[in-house]
C-alpha cells in the first residue's frame, strides 16, 4: 500500500472508530436539556444547544453510533453475494454464476458488476496462465481469483457502506431512525433545520460529521482498490514512460546516391526550388521532460518522395507525428518549427486546419481507424470539401464498387475492401502532403500495389510531398527519391538517465549481463532437450527455412485446423509447422483470428477440427488432456501487460509458481531462480518484491515473459507482445527473443507490425480464413459483398 493509501486507511479507521465510540467522550448526557433551545456556542456548550436545549457536541459525539452500526448491519446483508458469485464463477458457466450472484444481490447495478467481474476473472492473463499450468479449479480460485479481487471486493464493500450510510441518514431525516430522544445525526438535521439561524452549529455539526464519515469511507475504498484499472487512469502520466528512453541520434539526411539508389529510368526528380515542407529543430519530450526526439529535421521539395527509415525505437513515427501535431498521450513537442509552402504552421488550431486541408494520412492499422458506425461514403468524404462524385470516382479508381458499398459499414467489408476505403480517404483530393506510416504492415499486397501506383503519380508532379515511414529497405528503394535514416538508439546509447519513480530498472538487456547460451539460461526439460538436441538433420518440409543442426521433428505441427469464434469461421484447413529455434511471425488484419490461433495452440480454446503433433507425437487440444511435459513445453504470453499478472502477487511469487508446478522444483529452489529470470529479461532482481501495480507497462510485459520462460518452454506463443510498449522497450524485447532462439526456443509471434515480422525466419499471413506463406498467397477479395 502506498503512503497516501495508508494515510487514507488510517483516517477512515479513526473516523469510523470516532463515530462508533464518540459517545464515551460526550461531556453531557446527550438526552438531557441543559439550557435554552438553540443557544449559541459558549463555554459550557462548545457547539451551543439544539431544539430542546440539549448539548449539540454531546449529541454529535453520541449520534454516530446507531447510524454506523445500522449501516454496517445492512452491509453484512448486502456484501457476501459478490464473493459467492466470484467463487461460483470458475465452477459454473458465466450465465449461471451471474444468476446466482444476482439472486443473492438483487440490484440491477449488482448484476452488471458481477457480470463484468466474472468475465474479467475468467479471461485475465493470470487465470489463463494458471489454467495453462494445469492447476486445479480450487487452486485457481484460492490462489489467483480470491487474492486478486480481495482489494476490489473490499473497496466495493466500503462503497456499499457509503450507500447504506446515505440510506441510514435519510431514514433518520424522515423520522424513521431511532426514537426521538436518542441522538442520531440524521434526526438531528431534521430537528434543528428550523433553528438554523439561532444556532447554526446544531445543524452544521451533524452535517459535517456525516460528510466526514462518508468521504473518509470513500478514501478508504479508493485505497483498497488495487486493481490495475483503478490505478492506471489517475497515474497515466507516471506510467506511460517505461524504463528509460534513449534520445535518438539526430536525424541525418542520406542523399539518395549514398544510401539506396533510386531506380533507373524514373526520370529526373524535381528537387529544385524551395522546400514545400520544412521541419527544423523539432524536439519531443515525454511526461518527465526527457527528450524522445531531439533536433529533428526534415525537408522535402515539390514532387519529392521522402522515406524515413530506422530501426524500431528510433522515433521515426514520433518525428512525423510531432510535425503533424498529433502526438500520442504523454508526449509533447517542446521545440521546433514546421513550415508549409513558406508559411509557418503553429501547433494547435493552425496545425489542425493545415492537416484538414493539405494532409492525407494512412495509419499503421488503417482498418482500425475506420469509424464502425459510418458508411463508406461518409467515411471517405468526411471533413473534406469534396463532392460525392469525386468520392465515387476515387473509390472506383481503387477497384471498389462505389454504389454497392456507399452505405455499407466497416464490419460488412472484407479486410481488403476496408484497407482500400482507408486508402481512398487518404488519397482523396490529392493532398499536398501524403503520410504513409508503415504501409507494408497494414496493407495486403494488392492494396500496397495501389499505394505504389499512387506514389508513382505523385512523384515529380512538382507540387506534392509524400512521406513514407518504413523499415523495409527494399520497399523504400523502389519508391523513394531520398532516404532519411534515423539513428539507431541501441548501438551507441548514452548512459541511462535515472528512472522516473526511483525504480531500479536495469534499462535494457545489457548483453554482458544477460547470459546468452550459458549453462543456466533457459534450461530445457530433459525430454524436450532431446527434441531440441542437435540431431543434425535438415527439416524435410519443403518451403521451410531448414535450420541445420536442429531437431529432426518439428516442435509443433498442425494439420487441417478449423477455428471458429462466435459462429464465424476464422480459419479453415490450416496447417502450421514450427521447428526448433525458429521465429515465425503471423501477420494479418485485425479480427482475422491471429490471437485465437495462439489460444488454440496453447489449449485454451480447442478448435473445431484438426490434428496436433508435438515432437512427432500426437497431442490433444484441450488443456486438461495434455500431459504435464506438454503443458510445460508450450507457453503463451499475451498482449495485455495490465491483465497478465495477478495484482495481488509479488513478482517473485508469479515467477516461482511455474517452476514449482511444471518442473516440480522445491519451493526454495524455485525462488532461487527468480533473480536469474529477471536478469534474463533485463530487469533488476530487486523488482522481485514488487507487485504489478508498482511496475511500468514495459516491466510488466517483461515479467510476463519471464514467467513463461520460467517453465523452460520449447515453444513460446507470443501474442502482440510489443504492441502495448513504446518503441525502445519493444526493440529490447525482440532482441531478447533473438537470443533465446539461439538456445533452441521456437517462437510463434503474432503481430500486426511488419517491422517486427521482418526479424522472423518465416512470415505467415492470416487472412480470408487461410494461413499461408505470404510470398505465395496474395489476398483474394472474393469475400461476398
Amino acid at each position: 500500500m502506498r503512503r497516501r493509501d495508508r494515510a487514507a486507511a488510517g483516517l477512515a479507521a479513526v473516523t469510523v472508530l470516532a463515530a462508533v465510540c464518540g459517545g464515551a467522550l460526550a461531556p453531557h448526557d446527550p438526552a438531557a436539556s441543559i439550557g435554552m433551545p438553540w443557544a449559541p456556542p459558549g463555554a459550557a456548550w462548545p457547539l451551543g444547544t439544539d431544539v430542546a436545549g440539549r448539548d449539540v457536541l454531546s449529541r454529535v459525539l453520541a449520534g454516530g453510533r446507531d447510524l454506523t452500526l445500522t449501516a454496517l448491519a445492512d452491509l453484512l446483508l448486502a456484501a457476501p453475494f459478490m464473493l459467492t458469485a466470484l467463487v461460483l464463477a470458475v465452477a459454473l458457466p458465466p450465465p449461471a454464476a451471474v444468476v446466482a450472484g444476482t439472486v443473492c444481490g438483487g440490484a440491477p447495478l449488482g448484476l452488471r458488476m458481477v457480470r463484468d467481474l466474472v468475465r474479467q476473472a475468467r479471461h485475465t492473463g493470470y487465470v489463463e496462465a494458471a489454467r495453462c499450468r494445469g492447476e486445479t479449479a480450487v487452486s485457481i480460485v484460492g490462489r489467483e481469483i480470491l487474492p486478486s479481487v480481495a482489494g476490489l471486493a473490499s473497496a466495493d464493500v466500503v462503497l456499499r457502506f457509503v450507500l447504506a450510510l446515505q440510506l441510514a441518514a435519510a431514514f433518520g431525516m424522515l423520522g424513521l431512525g431511532p426514537q426521538p430522544p436518542a441522538p442520531d445525526w440524521g434526526s438531528m438535521l431534521r430537528e434543528n433545520l428550523a433553528g438554523a439561524v439561532l444556532n447554526p452549529a446544531a445543524l452544521l455539526a451533524p452535517a459535517v460529521a456525516l460528510t466526514v464519515l462518508a468521504l473518509a469511507s470513500l478514501l478508504l475504498s479508493a485505497a483498497l482498490d488495487t486493481s490495475p484499472g483503478a490505478r492506471i487512469a489517475p497515474r497515466a502520466g507516471r506510467n506511460v514512460p517505461s524504463g528509460v528512453r534513449f534520445p535518438p541520434r539526430a536525424a541525418h539526411d542520406v542523399p539518395s546516391g549514398a544510401g539506396i539508389p533510386p531506380r533507373a529510368g524514373r526520370g529526373a526528380v524535381q528537387t529544385a526550388g524551395d522546400a514545400v515542407l520544412e521541419v527544423a529543430g523539432l524536439t519531443v519530450a515525454d511526461g518527465h521532460g526527457r527528450p524522445i526526439v531531439t533536433e529533428g529535421a526534415l525537408r522535402a521539395g515539390p514532387g519529392e518522395v521522402v522515406a524515413i527509415t530506422g530501426p524500431s525505437g528510433s522515433g521515426k513515427t514520433t518525428l512525423v507525428r510531432a510535425a503533424l501535431d498529433v502526438l500520442g498521450p504523454g508526449l509533447r513537442r517542446t521545440d521546433g518549427v514546421v513550415t508549409w509552402r513558406g508559411s509557418p504552421v503553429r501547433p494547435g488550431r493552425d496545425a489542425r486546419r493545415w492537416r484538414r486541408a493539405h494532409v492525407g494520412l494512412l495509419d499503421q492499422d488503417p482498418v482500425g481507424s475506420l469509424n464502425p458506425l459510418l458508411g463508406v461514403g461518409a467515411l471517405v468524404g468526411e471533413g473534406r470539401p469534396r463532392r460525392p462524385a469525386e468520392v465515387r470516382a476515387m473509390l472506383t479508381a481503387l477497384g471498389l464498387d462505389a454504389d454497392a458499398l456507399w452505405q455499407r459499414r466497416p464490419h460488412r467489408l472484407s479486410g481488403g475492401q476496408a484497407q482500400r476505403v482507408a486508402l481512398a480517404r487518404a488519397l482523396l483530393g490529392e493532398p499536398g502532403l501524403l503520410v504513409l506510416d508503415e504501409p507494408t504492415s497494414g496493407l495486403d499486397p494488392a492494396a500496397l500495389d495501389l499505394v505504389v501506383q499512387a506514389i508513382g503519380r505523385r512523384r515529380g508532379d512538382g507540387r506534392s510531398v509524400t512521406l513514407v515511414i518504413s523499415h523495409d529497405a527494399d520497399f523504400v528503394s523502389r519508391l523513394a527519391d531520398r532516404v532519411l535514416a534515423i539513428g539507431a538508439p541501441d548501438t551507441t546509447s548514452p548512459a541511462p538517465a535515472p528512472s522516473p519513480i526511483g525504480v531500479p530498472d536495469t534499462t535494457g538487456l545489457d548483453p554482458a549481463r544477460s547470459i546468452v547460451g550459458g549453462p543456466d539460461t533457459t534450461e530445457l526439460d530433459p525430454a524436450l532437450s532431446a527434441i531440441v538436441a542437435p540431431d543434425v538433420a535438415a527439416s524435410g518440409s519443403p518451403g521451410l527455412t531448414a535450420r541445420p543442426g536442429r531437431g529432426e521433428q518439428p516442435l509443433l505441427r498442425v494439420r487441417g485446423m478449423r477455428l471458429a469464434r462466435g459462429g464465424e469461421t476464422l480459419l479453415d484447413d490450416a496447417g502450421l509447422t514450427l521447428w526448433p529455434g525458429e521465429l515465425v511471425a503471423v501477420l494479418g488484419p485485425s479480427g482475422a483470428g491471429k490471437s485465437t490461433l495462439l489460444r488454440a495452440l496453447a489449449g485454451l480454446l480447442p478448435p473445431e477440427a484438426g490434428d496436433l503433433w508435438s515432437g512427432g507425437l500426437p497431442l490433444a487440444w484441450p488443456l486438461d488432456r495434455r500431459p504435464r511435459a506438454a503443458l510445460r513445453a508450450v507457453q503463451l504470453v499475451g498482449q495485455d501487460p495490465a491483465g497478465a499478472l495477478n495484482p495481488a502477487h509479488r513478482v517473485a511469487t508469479a515467477l516461482a509458481r511455474p517452476a514449482r508446478v511444471l518442473r516440480g522444483l522445491p519451493r526454495a529452489q524455485a525462488y532461487a531462480e527468480v533473480p536469474r529470470l529477471l536478469r534474463q529479461v533485463g530487469l533488476d532482481p530487486a523488482l522481485a518484491a514488487r507487485r504489478p501495480g508498482e511496475l511500468s507497462g514495459g516491466q510488466r510485459q517483461r515479467v510476463a515473459l519471464a514467467r513463461a520462460l520460467a517453465a523452460g518452454p520449447a515453444v513460446l506463443l507470443a501474442d502482440e507482445i510489443t504492441s502495448a510498449l513504446d518503441d525502445v522497450t519493444a526493440a529490447r524485447l525482440l532482441r531478447l527473443l533473438e537470443r533465446l532462439r539461439a538456445d533452441g526456443l521456437a517462437v510463434l509471434l503474432v503481430t500486426h507490425d511488419r517491422e517486427v515480422a521482418a526479424r522472423a525466419d518465416r512470415v505467415l499471413y492470416l487472412a480470408d480464413h487461410r494461413l499461408s506463406p505470404e510470398a505465395i498467397g496474395t489476398e483474394t477479395h472474393t469475400r461476398a459483398p
Binding site: A170, A233, V326, R353, G383
Partner: protein
C-alpha cells in the same frame, strides 16, 4: 430487435411481480394490521375477528396478494384505512406535484450528468484524477446533508428562497420556480455526480479509440469529432447510466419532499408508513417500482439498439 424488446418486457414483468410480493410481505410484517388500526386497540377479540372477516383479512396471505394484484390490474387499489377515500384518488391528487418536481430535477440532472462525465472523461491525465475524486465525493455526501447545506445557504443565510416548499391551494399553478429550485437541485446534483462518476470512464475509453485518434489526425474540428466519432459510442452507456440516475432520483423524492414539506407522492408514502395506511403504502410503492422498472426496460432496449458493438444499429442490408 423484437427479441430484445420481448426480453426486456418479460424481465420487467417478472421483476414487477417479485416487487409486488416484496411490498406485500413488507406491509404484512408491520406490527399491527388494518383491523387493529381501525379500532384503535379498543375492540375485543370477538369484534376484531368480525372486522377481519369483513375486511377479508381471514383468508390466507397468498390469496389476498392475488386478489390485490387482480385489483391493481383493474385499476382498483382499495380504500385508505385512515381517510376511507379511494387510494387511486389520493394518489392521483399527489401525482402532478411529484411529476413536476421529478421533471425539473431531471431537466437539471441529465445535462449536468453528461457535462460532468464529458469533463471527467476528456480531462488531461493530470486533471482527471482530482476531477473524478471531486465528482465521486459529491456523490458520496449523503443527500440529506446536501439538501441541508442548500437550505442553510440559500434560505437561511442569503434568504433568496423559502426553506420549505409548501404547495399553494388546489388550482394554483404547480410550476413555481421559487418553490421548486431548492428541492429540484437537492435531487439533481447528487444524482448527476453519481451518474457522471459511472459515465466518465466510458467517455475516457471512447476518446482513446483508434478511429477517434484518426479523426483528430485528419484535422476535423473538435465539435465534429465529438459529435460524430465519440458521441454515438456513448449513447448506449449514457442511456443505461441515465436510467440508473433517474431511478435513484425517483427513490430520493421521498426524502427530499419530506425535508421541504412538499406535498407529493414521496411525502404521502412516508406519512402513510407513519399511520400504517397499508393500501396507500402499497400503491405508492408499486407506482415507484413501475416507474423504475419501466425506466430500466427502456434503457435496456435503447442500449441494445444503440450499441454498435453488438451490431445493434445496422444499415438495412
Amino acid at each position: 430487435m423484437t427479441r430484445v424488446v420481448g426480453m426486456a418486457l418479460v424481465r420487467a414483468l417478472v421483476l414487477l411481480v417479485a416487487v409486488s410480493v416484496l411490498v406485500f410481505c413488507a406491509t404484512e410484517l408491520l406490527p399491527s394490521d388494518a383491523a387493529q388500526s381501525r379500532t384503535g386497540g379498543r375492540a375485543g377479540a370477538e369484534q376484531l375477528e368480525r372486522l377481519r372477516a369483513e375486511l377479508g383479512l381471514d383468508v390466507p396471505a397468498w390469496q389476498r396478494h392475488l386478489s390485490w394484484l387482480a385489483g391493481l390490474c383493474r385499476g382498483e387499489a382499495g380504500t385508505s384505512l385512515v381517510t376511507d377515500r379511494p387510494v387511486v384518488q389520493i394518489v392521483a391528487e399527489r401525482l402532478p406535484a411529484t411529476l413536476t418536481l421529478a421533471g425539473c430535477a431531471l431537466a437539471v440532472a441529465v445535462p449536468l450528468t453528461l457535462l460532468l462525465a464529458w469533463l471527467v472523461g476528456t480531462a488531461a491525465p493530470r486533471w482527471r484524477g482530482p476531477l473524478s475524486t471531486v465528482v465521486t465525493g459529491v456523490a458520496a455526501v449523503p443527500q440529506v446533508v446536501f439538501a441541508t447545506g442548500l437550505i442553510v445557504v440559500f434560505a437561511v443565510v442569503l434568504g433568496w428562497l423559502p426553506p420549505v416548499s409548501l404547495l399553494p391551494a388546489a388550482g394554483a399553478p404547480l410550476f413555481d420556480l421559487e418553490l421548486l429550485t431548492l428541492p429540484a437541485l437537492s435531487l439533481a446534483v447528487p444524482a448527476a455526480a453519481f451518474g457522471a462518476g459511472l459515465l466518465g470512464g466510458a467517455v475516457a475509453d471512447t476518446v482513446r479509440r483508434p478511429h477517434v485518434r484518426d479523426a483528430v489526425a485528419r484535422g476535423l474540428p473538435r465539435h465534429r469529432v465529438a459529435l460524430r466519432h465519440v458521441a454515438p459510442f456513448l449513447l448506449a452507456p449514457a442511456v443505461r447510466v441515465l436510467a440508473l440516475t433517474a431511478s435513484a432520483l425517483v427513490a430520493a423524492t421521498a426524502v427530499i419532499e419530506m425535508m421541504f414539506g412538499y406535498a407529493g407522492l414521496g411525502e404521502l408514502l412516508v406519512s402513510s408508513i407513519g399511520t400504517r395506511d397499508t393500501p396507500v403504502v402499497q400503491a405508492v410503492a408499486m407506482l415507484a417500482a413501475v416507474v423504475v422498472l419501466a425506466g430500466s426496460a427502456v434503457a435496456d432496449v435503447l442500449g441494445a439498439w444503440t450499441d454498435p458493438e453488438r451490431g445493434g444499429v445496422r444499415a438495412p442490408a
